[in-house]
C-alpha cells in the first residue's frame, strides 16, 4: 500500500517537473571551480563572477526564448583533476531541458585540461577564466576558450622586468608543483637563462604547505637579487611572503597572477609592501569594468582576482548563445570567434585556438593596494 502511494507521488512529481519544463523555459549553463578545499577562495570568486554576469544579462533582457538563466555550479574541490572530470561528466550527461549550453571553468590548469577533453567530446563549449598554462589551448580542441592570458607570455613579461627594471643578476625560484605553478616557474627559469640571469636554484614546496621556514632559510643564505614565487594561490602566497619577511629575506619579491588577490595583502600586511607581481592589465576606469564592479560588489562583496575574468567568460558565452539563437556548440563557437567587445577584464576577442591574448603588466603592492607599476610593452612605469 505504502509502496504504491510512493509510486503515485513519484509519478505526479515527475509529471509536474516535465510540465514545469514546458511552461517555463530555462537556459542552463555550468561552471566548474573549487568551492571547497585549498582553492575555495578563487573558486568562489569565479562562481560569483558567473552569477553576476547572469544577473547583468538578465537585467538587460536575457536570452530570447528563455524565461531565465540558471547556473549549475559544480565544485571540483581541488586542482588534481579527478573531481573536475567527475564534474565535467556530470555536466556533459545532462540532457533534454537540463542540457548545459556551455561551461565556465575550470580554475587550475591541471583541472581544466582533463575536463575540457570530456566537454569537447560532448560538444559543450568551455571558457576558462583562469587557466593560464600554454597547453590548455594547444591541444587542438574545438570548443576550448579562455579569457585569461598565457604563461609563456607571463614569463616573458616578468623576465623582461627582472632584467630591465630590477637589473637583477641572480634569481631563486620556488614553486608548489601544480601544473600551473610549476609550468610557469619552468618557463621563468628558461626565460631567465635566455636573458643571461643566473638561476641559483629552482626549489619546490608542496601545495597546501603552511610552513616554509626551511626553504626560506635557504633563500636567505643564497641571497639572490630576486626571489621569484610561483604558488597556486594567494593563501599560500600570503603565508610565504610574511614568513619571508620574518626570516629576514631582503631580495626583491616577484610573484605571479595566482597570488593576485586581496587575501594576499590581508594576510601578509606590511610584509607584502613593495613586492611585485604580474597580472593581466585591467583598466578599472573603463565603463565595462565599472558596471561589472557595481553589480558584483553589491551582491558578492570583495572582487577577487578572477571575478572579472569569470564575468567576461560568462558574458561571452551568453552573448554567443543569444546572437546565434542556439545552444549548439558549433554555432556558439562561430559567434565567439566573431565576437569583439569590451569586457570587464580586457577586450573579449578570441583567436582561432581559443586564446584571447595576453596583456601582462607588473603591479606593485603599495599602501595595502595593488598598483599598476610597469608595462613590459613600453618598458616604462605607469
Amino acid at each position: 500500500m505504502k509502496k504504491s502511494l510512493a509510486r503515485i507521488l513519484f509519478l505526479a512529481l515527475a509529471l509536474c517537473l516535465v510540465a514545469g519544463g514546458a511552461w517555463a523555459k530555462t537556459l542552463k549553463i555550468g561552471s566548474i571551480s573549487p568551492l571547497t578545499g585549498p582553492y575555495a577562495a578563487d573558486g568562489t570568486d569565479i562562481k560569483n563572477g558567473v552569477l553576476a554576469a547572469i544577473d547583468a544579462f538578465t537585467a538587460a533582457g536575457g536570452v530570447p526564448g528563455y524565461d531565465k538563466i540558471e547556473l549549475d555550479a559544480q565544485d571540483d574541490a581541488s586542482c588534481d583533476g579527478k573531481q573536475t572530470v567527475a564534474a565535467a561528466n556530470k555536466l556533459a550527461s545532462q540532457s533534454g531541458d537540463n542540457k548545459i549550453a556551455g561551461v565556465v571553468g575550470a580554475y587550475c590548469s591541471g583541472a581544466t585540461i582533463p575536463a575540457s577533453e570530456i566537454l569537447d567530446e560532448a560538444g559543450i563549449v568551455m571558457i576558462s577564466p583562469g587557466s593560464t598554462a600554454e597547453k590548455v589551448t594547444e591541444r587542438g580542441l574545438k570548443y576550448m576558450f579562455r579569457t585569461c592570458g598565457r604563461d609563456d607570455d607571463q614569463s616573458k613579461a616578468v623576465g623582461k622586468f627582472m632584467k630591465d627594471y630590477l637589473k637583477a643578476k641572480t634569481v631563486f625560484i620556488v614553486d608548489d608543483k601544480t601544473t600551473y605553478s610549476q609550468g610557469l616557474a619552468d618557463n621563468v627559469e628558461k626565460e631567465c637563462k635566455a636573458l643571461g640571469l643566473t638561476v641559483i636554484e629552482h626549489d619546490h614546496v608542496n601545495a597546501g604547505d603552511r610552513d616554509f621556514s626551511a626553504v626560506l632559510t635557504k633563500v636567505k643564505s643564497a641571497n639572490p637579487d630576486v626571489f621569484y614565487i610561483s604558488l597556486q594561490n594567494s593563501s599560500s602566497g600570503g603565508l610565504m611572503v610574511s614568513q619571508a619577511k620574518r626570516v629576514g629575506i631582503t631580495s626583491k619579491l616577484v610573484a605571479q597572477d595566482a597570488v593576485f588577490h586581496p587575501q594576499l595583502i590581508d594576510n601578509a600586511k606590511e610584509a607584502a609592501e613593495g613586492m611585485y607581481l604580474t597580472f593581466g592589465f585591467i583598466d578599472e576606469n573603463s565603463p565595462a569594468y565599472q558596471s561589472f564592479a557595481k553589480i558584483y560588489s553589491a551582491k558578492y562583496g570583495k572582487i577577487g582576482a578572477y571575478s572579472s575574468y569569470a564575468y567576461d567568460a560568462a558574458t561571452a558565452l551568453l552573448t554567443a548563445i543569444k546572437n546565434s539563437g542556439s545552444t549548439d556548440a558549433e554555432k556558439i563557437r562561430a559567434e565567439l570567434l566573431k565576437m569583439d567587445m569590451p569586457g570587464a577584464a580586457k577586450r573579449i576577442k578570441f583567436k582561432e585556438n581559443g586564446d584571447s591574448g595576453s596583456n601582462y603588466i607588473v603591479l606593485v603592492i603599495k599602501g595595502g593596494k595593488f598598483v599598476n607599476f610597469w608595462d613590459p610593452e613600453t618598458g616604462k612605469t605607469f
Binding site: 626551511a214 635557504k218 643564505s221 593563501s235 600570503g238 610574511s242 590581508d266 594576510n267 600586511k269
Partner: protein, 305 residues
C-alpha cells in the same frame, strides 16, 4: 654552521607544534584506544577562536596597549573553548558507541571531523583569516642566527605546557586516575574512579593543547583557514605513532623528530622541499619496522591488538 643552526631552530619550532598536537592523539588513544580523527579540527577551531578574540580585543584598542595580556587572555579562552568542544564531541559522537566495535567509533570520528571542518568553513568562510601579528615581529640575532619572537614564544609555550602536562599526569591524583583508567577501565571503576569523567577530561586536555598549537600556528604563519588541521594532523598522528601511541613522552619526542626531519630534509636534500613529507614518513616506517610499538611504546599486550 649558521645555516645549520637556523634550520635547527626552524625544526625545533615546527616540532614543538607537532608535539603539542600529537599529545591529543596519544592521550585519547591511550585511554580508549580510539584514533580521534576530529583532533585536527580542534586545532583549526583553536586558531579561529584565537583570531576572533584577538580581533575583538584589537577593535576595542586593547591590542595596542597590552598585546601580551591580550594574547594570554585569548590563549586561556581558546583552550577552554576547545576543551569544551572536545567534551561535547566525546559526549555526542563517541560515548554512545563506547560498547560497540572499534570500527564504528572510528567512523564516527571521521564523520565528526568532516562535520566540524565543514561547519568551520560555512560559518567562517573559505577565505583565510589574518592574525594581528604586529606585536610579534622582530627577533634576536645571535651570531647570524635569527630567532624570531614567535619562535621563542612557541618554544616557551610548548615547554611550559609540556611541563604542566607531565606534572598533571605523573604527579597528581587526577593523573593517577587517568593512568589507571588507561590501564584498565573496569578495574579502575571498581576502585571508585569515575571513568566517564576521566575520559572526558582526557579529551579536554588534548583539545586544549591542540588549541594552543592552533593559536601559535596562526600567529606564526599569520593566518588560519578552515582546513589547516588536516595536513599537520596527519603529521602529528605520525608523530604519536612514531613515539609509541599511548605514550605521552613518546608523542613529544615523536613530534620533535618529525618536525626536525621535515625541516632538515628540505634544508639539505637537493629539491628536498618537495619531498620533505616523504622523509618524515620514511623515518616513521623505518622506526616501526624495527620497533613496531614505536620508540617509547610499551610491549603489545593482546587486549590492544
Amino acid at each position: 654552521m649558521e645555516y645549520f643552526f637556523q634550520q635547527f631552530i626552524n625544526g625545533i619550532t615546527l616540532g614543538g607544534v607537532y608535539a603539542l598536537f600529537a599529545l591529543g592523539y596519544t592521550m585519547v588513544y591511550g585511554i580508549i584506544q580510539l584514533i580521534n580523527f576530529a583532533h585536527g579540527e580542534f586545532f583549526a577551531a583553536g586558531g579561529y577562536v584565537g583570531v576572533i578574540v584577538l580581533s575583538f580585543l584589537g577593535a576595542h584598542g586593547y591590542m595596542g596597549t597590552h598585546p601580551w595580556l591580550c594574547l594570554a587572555f585569548s590563549l586561556v579562552l581558546t583552550m577552554g573553548y576547545c576543551a569544551m568542544l572536545a567534551m561535547a564531541v566525546e559526549k555526542i559522537a563517541y560515548k554512545p558507541l563506547r560498547r560497540s566495535t572499534r570500527l564504528s567509533v572510528l567512523l564516527s570520528a571521521l564523520g565528526m571531523s568532516i562535520f566540524l571542518q565543514n561547519g568551520l568553513m560555512l560559518t567562517q568562510g573559505v577565505y583565510d583569516k589574518a592574525y594581528p601579528t604586529a606585536f610579534v615581529q622582530g627577533g634576536l640575532d645571535i651570531g647570524g642566527v635569527r630567532i624570531s619572537i614567535m619562535q621563542l614564544l612557541i618554544l616557551g609555550l610548548t615547554a611550559v605546557l609540556l611541563f604542566i602536562l607531565n606534572a598533571l599526569v605523573f604527579r597528581t591524583r587526577i593523573g593517577k586516575a587517568m593512568r589507571a583508567t588507561a590501564q584498565d577501565k573496569v578495574m579502575s571503576a571498581l576502585v571508585g574512579i569515575n571513568s566517564n569523567r576521566i575520559i572526558s577530561l582526557t579529551f579536554a586536555i588534548g583539545a586544549g593543547l591542540a588549541a594552543a598549537a592552533g593559536i601559535m600556528v596562526g600567529l606564526y604563519y599569520g593566518a588560519v583557514r578552515y582546513d589547516m588541521g588536516f595536513v599537520p594532523g596527519v603529521k602529528a598522528f605520525a608523530a604519536a605513532v612514531l613515539g609509541g601511541i599511548g605514550n605521552i613522552t613518546g608523542a613529544m619526542l615523536g613530534g620533535f623528530i618529525i618536525g626536525m626531519v621535515e625541516i632538515m630534509a628540505a634544508a639539505y636534500v637537493p629539491h628536498g622541499g618537495e619531498y620533505k613529507d616523504v622523509f618524515a614518513f620514511i623515518i616513521l616506517i623505518a622506526v616501526l619496522y624495527f620497533m613496531p610499538t614505536g620508540i617509547m611504546g610499551e610491549n603489545v599486550d593482546d587486549t590492544r591488538v
